[in-house]
């Protein structure tokens, strides 16, 4: 699956955030039931593939269910092993999935924003990173989490022309690699087959 370089858009990041509200373009937004349906689809594929995505369901309310994935990675900056928890959460205001994540070291200490930048994106220039990778309050857990700001997600998703069978899979494949979340190709194939 092709990966778009998200960084190139950053000069227009703010402008588009504000103007997006006024635009009426057929963008790749999701309703909450669609999100939930597709999240369950991802979960099914994950189970079939023996992968470890989990659907966390706090309650029935919008947007209190989210997909969760956990893995250990070795940071680019150091040899320390880091545990990363990724959440795919629904954004009510943007009507798109948002990638939240949190990383901690072996002693339980969390990586702050600086350390997160260093770990995942040491080669990218800071000013660009400020634009996309930030800290936001997790809409279900109400704790600060790292996140990719959702203001450009619709456009990034819309660049894939035909609405894909499962927007969440497209979304994770696009944003995940920036933080070492690499979805196996089998997910894409599976969602095609299910068609």
């Amino acid at each position: 699956m092709a990966i778009v370089n998200l960084l190139v858009f950053n000069h227009f990041w703010i402008g588009i955030c504000t103007s997006a509200n006024g635009k009426i373009v057929s963008m790749t937004t999701l309703t909450w039931p669609e999100f939930l349906y597709q999240a369950k689809q991802v979960l099914e594929i994950s189970n079939e593939l023996n992968d470890n995505w989990i659907l966390c369901e706090k309650d029935e309310q919008e947007p209190n269910s989210y997909l969760k994935y956990t893995q250990k990675i070795k940071g680019k900056a150091s040899e320390d092993l880091i545990s990363v928890e990724y959440h795919i959460v629904y954004s009510i205001s943007y009507q798109v999935p948002v990638l939240y994540f949190q990383a901690h070291r072996s002693d339980g200490s969390l990586l702050d924003l600086e350390a997160t930048w260093k770990t995942f994106l040491p080669d990218t220039s800071r000013s660009e990173l400020y634009q996309m990778l930030t800290q936001m309050e997790h809409p279900v857990l109400f704790r600060p989490f790292m996140a990719f700001h959702p203001c450009r997600t619709t456009e990034v998703l819309a660049q894939f022309g035909e609405p894909s069978e499962n927007v969440l899979i497209t979304f994770i494949s696009l944003y995940g690699p920036y933080v070492q979340l690499n979805l196996a190709n089998a997910y894409g194939l599976h969602s095609q087959i299910n068609k």
Binding site: W13, I14, L49, N50, D51, N52, I54, T70, Q71, K72, K74, L81, S83, H104, S106, D107, G108, S109, L110, D112, L113, S127, Y130, Q131, T134, Q135, P144, A184
Partner: protein, 684 residues
């Protein structure tokens, strides 16, 4: 591989991997449940043999549950936490004895056969800890007890499962075993008879069949990513030889089950080992304390302040909010300036409360309030730091209450309140109050000295005189906000600092430029000394009769003006520009902009037409608050001079020569903006 067969099998030691939630839950249990008890508590850990990294044993909040609930693809480990009450107890505890005690429990589980029913007992661990809940520091030391048994000789190099001719049959047999038995089990692989069968530990070991034992692979979920098997195998071997002593001296095949991401078993490893001698149970010693980050035997410490201390969490979030502004919109914004600038607020009424809150929003940390009033019944609706209960209490002073509330809002701020009277010109001080006034004066002077910014937010014109004078004398930044019924004035006082070198303020055609040191103060445009402005006034002039929005607007402008000033490279010496031509035909030249736009001298606004104008005015050489005459007199005579002015305001008029001035020019000097009637009242 040096001496052929003599190679000794070594194990990959467990490394602890702690989730922040483990500490969160420990803190909760200690505070709500254990309190002063330091009794040991049984916990659970888990390890995975799917896509294993290093050789980890993990704990999270679920460790404290009553039964093990390892996550998907993980296996449970049985543990104990010894959480001590003090760092001294943590240090003083006999580590060797504790390890031996835990090791004996492990041996007991082996001897009694309990491990056959619950093999997770082989994955035994314990944590010695001390939780400093005040500083959110956690001292801890993990251990994975293991009897120091005779060494195991490797018969050949480790073999990969996929290299076996019938690897598929092995894998399929293993897959059929129930999930809860996948941690330790025995694989019966009889190549001659084409039988591959995974059997539970208890099934094999309770009636051990020596005839068949050559076909046994002792399997375990191997958490190691290295060529060496995980630490678990060490206890596994000890248990096997203890249950079946006849296996001593015989070649045993161990299969470390390792899954990849796709749950394939190909990379599982097989070790063929011999333990030459049996171990002596009586004098068994134990090993297993984890090394710390420096590779030394010792405990670890982690500070969880950033994620557990509510004050720190608030501080980080507040800073993040401000940083987002810097990162996304104003990259050159210097946030440290705000965090370091100390603000002194004269008045803790409507304006004082609103200014203080705006300061907190901008990341100011040091805020001091001076006020002499109590919270009254009418106050809370307009004065945003007080509540009805404060008024009911009847004795809550505004200055101190406001400081407390600011800390409630941002615990990491440094806020103080001082209850005192601000002496005013023309307000005679009786002999009885002289001593107290002296003390208050000293405190006020000291406070001005210790702060960088002075806000004038009191409810009368004359109470602004002393702070204006002190701000000028001590070269502080002074921001003034005053209210009328539906109008407001917000201004920065001209600087009394001397321009260092030639800054050369830029002249712009069509604009008049006044250097920061030439700008006037609140009193510069005024030709009367402040008398008793509360006298001879109707009720509506004496107390606050303003449209409620006015104070919030003025307070917001006041703080934004300060921030713009602080971000300006020349700070209080920054010039102010205003258009000196009223020619509407001509295109108005653009006012020069700094980081946050223009930096005016003053903002005068009206609610009745929703308009602001931005006049800039010169210093007045005979100003009764900031002119050379006054500053010199204050510097020379100190409090004696101040008391003379408190006696009669006329003294100031004579000193500065305004008396003369007034007599000669009373007709010429007239406010051209007379529609702005600044009664400068804030609150009663």
């Amino acid at each position: 591989m040096s001496e052929g067969n003599a190679k000794i099998l070594q194990f990959a030691p467990f490394e602890s991997f702690v989730s922040p939630t483990f500490w969160h839950k420990l803190a909760e249990l200690k505070l709500d449940h254990d309190r002063l008890s330091d009794a040991k508590r049984s916990i659970f850990g888990h390890y995975t043999n799917r896509k294993a990294s290093r050789c980890l044993l993990e704990v999270d909040y679920s460790a404290y549950n009553s039964s093990a609930q390892p996550p998907k693809f993980s296996h449970g480990a049985v543990g104990t936490i010894y959480n001590k009450n003090t760092i001294e107890e943590f240090k003083a505890l006999d580590k060797t004895a504790l390890l031996a005690e835990e090791g004996k429990c492990l041996l007991d589980d082996m001897n009694s056969g309990r491990v056959l029913n619950d093999a997770s007992l082989l994955a035994r661990f314990f944590v010695l800890s001390f939780a400093d809940l005040k500083s959110h520091s956690y001292y801890y030391w993990f251990a994975f007890p293991c009897p120091l048994t005779p060494t195991l000789q490797l018969q050949c190099d480790a073999l990969c499962l996929k290299e076996l001719p019938n690897a598929r049959q092995y894998a399929e047999a293993i897959r059929l075993l129930p999930a809860d038995q996948q941690n330790f089990f025995v694989l019966y692989a009889n190549e001659q008879e084409n039988v591959w069968e995974a059997r539970s530990l208890s099934a094999v070991l309770t009636q051990f069949d020596e005839q068949q034992s050559q076909h046994y692979y002792y399997c375990f979920a191997d958490a190691s990513e290295y060529e060496n098997p995980s630490w678990l195998m060490r206890n596994y071997v000890a248990m096997l030889l203890q249950q079946c002593p006849s296996l001593v001296g015989r070649t045993l095949k161990f299969l470390g089950v390792r899954y990849d991401q796709q749950m394939q078993l190909d990379n599982s490893l097989i070790w063929q080992v011999v333990q030459a001698e049996s171990s002596c149970n009586e004098q068994l010693q134990f090993v297993g304390w984890e090394v710390n980050r420096n590779g030394k035997m010792g405990p670890r410490m982690v500070s969880m302040r950033d994620s557990m201390d509510p004050a720190k969490l608030a501080e980080n979030s507040i800073n993040l909010n401000l940083k987002l502004m810097k990162w996304r919109l104003v990259p050159d914004l210097n946030l440290d300036i705000m965090a370091q600038s100390k603000c002194l607020l004269f008045g803790a009424g409507t304006l004082g409360c609103a200014v203080a809150r705006n300061l907190l929003s901008w990341g100011f940390k040091h805020i001091t309030l001076l006020d002499n009033g109590k919270v009254g019944y009418s106050n809370p609706v307009r004065q945003s730091l007080y509540t009805h209960a404060d008024a009911v209490a009847g004795n809550r002073m505004k200055a101190t209450t406001a400081a407390t509330r600011l800390l409630d809002i941002n615990p990491s701020a440094v806020c103080h309140g001082h209850v005192l009277e601000i002496p005013m010109p023309g307000h005679t001080i009786g002999e009885a109050l002289r001593q107290q006034t002296e003390e208050h004066l000293q405190l006020i002077e000291q406070q001005v000295q210790q702060h960088d910014v002075i806000f004038l937010l009191t409810d009368s014109r004359e109470s602004r005189w002393l702070p204006t004078l002190l701000g000028a004398a001590q070269q502080k930044i002074v921001i003034n906000a005053a209210l009328g019924f539906d109008s407001y004035l917000v201004m920065r006082h001209g600087s009394t600092r001397q321009e260092v070198g030639d800054v050369g303020n830029k002249e712009i055609a069509g604009l008049k430029c006044i250097g920061g040191e030439q700008l006037g103060c609140y009193f510069c445009n005024d030709v009367t000394a402040p008398g008793n402005s509360l006298k001879d006034r109707t009720l509506d002039q004496q107390c606050t009769v303003t449209r409620p929005g006015v104070s919030n607007i003025a307070a917001s402008y006041a703080v934004e003006l300060l921030v713009a000033l602080l971000q300006h490279p020349q700070r209080d010496l920054a010039p102010a520009y205003y258009a000196n031509s009223r020619n509407q035909q001509q295109q108005q030249p653009q006012l020069p902009e700094g980081l946050l736009g223009i930096l005016p001298h003053s903002i005068r606004g009206m609610l009745c037409n929703y308009e602001n104008i931005l006049p800039a005015t010169q210093k007045f050489a005979q100003c009764i608050a900031c002119s050379k005459h006054v500053l010199d007199a204050y510097r020379e005579e100190g409090h004696a001079f101040l008391f003379k002015t408190f006696e009669t305001a006329k003294y100031l008029e004579d000193l500065t020569g305004i008396s003369e001035f007034k007599r000669l020019n009373s007709e010429i000097i007239d406010f051209d903006d007379d529609k702005f009637d600044f009664s400068e009242d804030d609150e009663d």
